[in-house]
Structure formats: C-alpha cells, structure tokens
C-alpha cells in the first residue's frame, strides 16, 4: 500500500551525480592548473591581471585524486586499526545518542506537560543550550574520569538539546481538540499522556533524533581530534583523520572524511527506517 520512494529513476540520478562528481574531481586534481583542468583559463588570466597571485588561491591539484584515495583505501581496508576507528566512533555516537534519547525525551515531555517544571527547568536549559558542545571539551576532560567518558559526554550534548527542543515544541503544539475529545470520552490524565501526548509527539521525536544524530557525528569527530589519540590505538575516525594529517598522508585524510560520510549516512538511514516504523500513519502522506 505504501508507495516506495525509492525508484530506479532516482537511483540512476544519484549514481549519475556521484560519477560526474568523481570525474570532475579526478580531472581537477590531476591537472597542473589551479582550478581544475584549464576550464577557467580566461578567468585565471582576468584575476591575474587584477593582481591576484596564484598562491593566494586554492588549488584543486593539491587534493589527492579519487584514484589515489581509492588505492590508499584499499591499503587500509584490511587493516584492523581502520575498522577499529569505525567501531570506536560508532560506539561513541551510539552511547552519546542513546543517552540523549533516554534523558532528553522524558525531560522534554516533563517540560511540556508540567508548568512548574517548565518554569524551573527551561531557563537553565536555554542558557546552556547556546554553548556549543565543543566548548565543553576542556571542561569535560577535567570533569570525567576517563577520556572515553568525556568524548561520550560531549557527543551526548550534541544530540540532547535538539531532542529536548523538538519534544517540547512537538508536545506543546498538540491540537487542543485532541485533549478535549479524549476527556469527553472519559480518558484519565495518565491515558491522555500515554495515548495522546506520547503518540502525538512521536513525529517530533523522530525529527529531533534525526537532526541530533547528524550533530552527534559532527561533534564526535571534532572531539576525537581535540582530545588526541590518548594511549590506545585506533581512536575513532576523527583521530584517524588528524593522525593522517600529522603523518602527511593526504589520501588517508580523504579516506577518513568519506568514511565519516558513509557512517553518518548509514546512521541516518537506520534512524529514518526506525522513524517510519514507529509512525506508520505518516507514511501515507
């Protein structure tokens, strides 16, 4: 009954755009000119005439070509350290994200249904919310006994605020007629919470989680870079990138970046599938 959004046509378009992107990238990076192959020759001349020096401008030729990246990737794919990095980052994301869901959803619901709780909790929440998760890194390292915990904590913050804000917003915008109808039909306060507020907030929880998941990946990578490897090897994809940079292996930097892209994509797809599963009534729009 539900229509499949995934058609051969859209798959074809997606593949096409990726292939074109790779070709342009390959051409650009193997060229000795500064912007891609000499497509922009006239532009370059014009800029040069205006007094721009070549060294002031980015040079795609400095970026490793996709073929080199692929070769480097093939080199590390059998390496357990590389997969260890995946595993570590995933673990941190899942730990932080799960904690954010477990704490954020009840907290958001509490703020939404209880005026007193909102009065007490929301101002504090709103002051803490604008602080970027990365600004918490030094404090987190001091506060938490292990580095692992401090990274998980910062990751947690990334998703927590988004989830709470979405839950509060979702629960507060529930149509008053739903409450009136439920009360007319004899629902108790608990029934109203369980059968009206909870399902009506579910779509907002799903949206909040999806956005939160994205932020979680951003945060975990940065936190890994800042906190450094810290003893044991294989310390996350963020550290993998940083390590490659320090070691001068530019191909591996790109391998790390693409790995994060794939990891983030997998997480959001999983979340999207889960979201569709828990909100079946939205599938038909």
């Amino acid at each position: 009954m539900a229509k499949r959004r995934f058609s051969t046509k859209s798959l074809g378009r997606g593949l096409f755009s990726i292939v074109v992107f790779l070709i342009l990238w390959e051409l650009g990076s193997s060229s000795k000119h500064w912007i891609g192959a000499d497509f922009f020759g006239p532009l370059r001349d014009a800029l040069g005439a205006m007094g721009f020096k070549k060294t002031w401008l980015p040079w795609i030729g400095m970026i490793p070509a996709p073929s080199d990246v692929l070769r480097a990737w093939a080199g590390v794919v059998g390496d357990s350290g590389y997969w260890q990095s995946w595993y570590k980052s995933f673990l941190r994301v899942m730990a932080g994200f799960t904690a954010a869901m477990i704490l954020g959803i009840p907290f958001g619901l509490l703020l939404a249904v209880n005026r007193t709780a909102f009065g007490i909790g929301f101002p504090v929440f709103e002051v803490l919310r604008p602080i970027p998760p990365l600004a918490w890194v030094p404090a987190a390292i001091i506060f938490w006994p292990t580095q692992e915990l401090s990274i998980a904590f910062v990751t947690f913050l990334g998703a927590f605020y988004t989830i709470v804000i979405n839950v509060v917003g979702g629960a507060r915008s529930i149509d008053v007629r739903f409450f009136q109808a439920a009360r007319s039909m004899g629902s108790s306060r608990w029934d109203i919470f369980r059968r009206i507020i909870l399902p009506a907030t579910l779509p907002s929880i799903v949206v909040g989680s999806a956005v939160g998941m994205g932020i979680t990946w951003e945060v975990v990578v940065a936190a890994e870079m800042i906190s450094g490897g810290g003893g044991t090897g294989g310390n996350g994809l963020g550290f993998f990138i940083w390590n490659s940079y320090v070691g001068g292996s530019y191909e591996l930097i790109v391998v790390g970046m693409i790995s994060i892209g794939i990891a983030g994509f997998i997480s959001s797809e999983l979340l999207r599938a889960l979201g569709k599963f828990v909100t079946p009534w939205l599938r038909l729009r």
């Binding site: 439920a182 009506a200 009534w281």
Partner: protein
C-alpha cells in the same frame, strides 16, 4: 448521573435546558460578552440546529454544555442534572455529551477502528476486544466497512466526519454536540453527509445539538432551528420545523421547505450583516 425527575415521553434522555446563560470573556482586561442572557430548551431526542454568523458565540455555548469551560452566570442542565450554574464548579467533560469538532479530531495515529473503539475502553465499559466488535458493527451500519484498518489520513474528509460521529455514538451519549462538522466539505459531499447523519440518527435517536451557519442545512436536518444574534449571542428566533421525519433530499424542493427558508432567511441575513460590520473574526 441521577435519573431525570420528570420522564419525557418517547425519548427519555438528553433534554437540555439552557437558562439565562451569560458568558463574558476577559482575555486581557477588556471584557467581551460572548453569550447574553440566552435561554433555550431542547427536548430529549430532538435535533436542534443553532444558526448564526461565524464568531457569534455559538461555540461558546457548545463548549459550556460539553464541559470544556464554565459560564459566567445562568444554568445549563441535562436531564435535570446541572452541568454548569452560577456559584458551583462545572461538570467535567464526559461521555454523556460528546463533541464532533469543526475540523475533526480523530486521532491521526490510530486507525479508524481504534479511534471508534477508543471511548468505551477509556471508560472501562468494554474490554478492547468487545469494543472492537462493537465498533466493527457500528462502522458497518454507518457504511464504513472497508476503512476500519486505514488511518484517518487515508480516507476522504466526508468519511472522516462519519467515523468521528460513529466514534462519538460508541460512547452511548445522551447528546451529540456537533460544531459545524460539515463546514469544510463541498456541497455535494455535504448532501451525502446530511442523509447519512439522519440515517445514523434514526438508528440511534440521541439528542443532537448542531451548530451551523448554513440555513438550508439547519432546516433540512432540524426539528428545531434557533437563529442566534451576532455577538453577544442569544436566540433571535426559534423555529419549529414542521416537516415530518424521516426526511430525505426530496424535502429540499418541497413548498414547505421553501416557505421556512423565506420566513427565516431575512433574520439570518440581518445578523450576518451585523457580524460583517463589526468585523468579528472566528471564535
């Protein structure tokens, strides 16, 4: 709920008495009178149509009967039991007077069947299984067989209204409170819905308190039509529609129907102009 002291003939439950009701809103200091010394008697089992321009305060009256908010003074009783009155707390909303809302309030996250079965389970009157059985039967009676396992978002708006009316009837109410339920429907769907409503009414015989701004709809459906003044709201003219039930769409072209429209349309039009001039918005 105690038994009604004076048993009515034929239909014995669902008599509403609105006595001298006043409702004043004070949203931000400025008092707005929504209902002004309004009195109206609705007999048990009667279809009473409330006609008035948008925002005249009809819904205020409905909300007071439903128990969603209190009145400033006066008294409303249902079968002799006081719902609201000066100087005492209002009765809580209950399954004896269920509302069908203007834009519909089916729970989108429940299937139609789950929506219909909701009330009796909440009240602890039926188990989930019994409620489902009853709901299936009532939905089939109302021509809703086949959409039980769809979500409300999957069916037409006309169907949705019908599901909502059946959901309300599942609670075995004394009164059905309908707040412009067909407002958003096109006129063709509306005519189908009118006959469907009458059909459901003939089977279930509840008192119906029906708010509308459509005079033809009011005269076609109602035993009684109360034309309300624009804000503040009170009956301007109460009309007994002496067209026998059961009615069908043939009534619309009958001479009697036309006469009744002629008799009342001026009163309605006057109020509409007043409402337009004071620039009242939805309320």
């Amino acid at each position: 709920m105690g038994a009604a002291p004076d048993a009515q003939p034929a239909q014995t439950r669902g008599a509403i008495r609105i006595e001298d009701v006043v409702k004043i809103y004070e949203p931000d200091g400025a008092a707005v009178m929504a209902v002004d010394h309004c009195s109206l008697e609705i007999e048990a089992g009667e279809i009473c149509m409330i006609v008035g321009p948008s925002g005249c305060g009809k819904t205020t009256l409905l909300n007071a009967i439903a128990g969603f908010h209190d009145i400033t003074s006066g008294r409303i009783t249902l079968d002799g039991d006081v719902l609201c009155s000066t100087g005492r707390p209002k009765a809580e909303p209950g399954p004896d007077r269920v509302v069908v809302f203007q834009n519909g309030a089916l729970f989108p996250w429940k299937t139609n069947l789950q929506n219909v079965a909701f009330g009796p389970v909440m009240q602890g009157k039926l188990t989930v299984r019994e409620a489902r059985e009853k709901a299936l039967g009532m939905m089939a009676d109302a021509g809703l067989a086949g959409v039980e396992n769809n979500y409300p978002g999957e069916i037409s708006s006309g169907m949705r209204r019908r599901v909502e009316i059946v959901r309300a009837l599942m609670n075995d109410p004394k009164v059905l409170l309908l707040d412009e339920p067909y407002r958003a429907l096109d006129s063709l769907t509306k005519s189908v819905m009118h006959e469907a409503l009458l059909e459901i009414y003939y089977k279930n015989k509840v008192t119906i308190f029906f708010i509308t701004h459509d005079l033809e709809e009011a005269i076609f459906l109602g035993h009684k039509v109360a034309i309300m003044t624009t804000r503040p709201c009170k009956p301007k003219k109460v009309l007994e529609v002496n067209i026998p039930h059961p009615r069908d769409y043939g009534v619309l072209t009958s001479k009697r129907f036309r006469e009744l429209i002629e008799e009342t349309s001026e009163a309605v039009h006057e109020e509409a102009i007043k409402a337009f001039q004071t620039g009242e918005k939805e309320g």
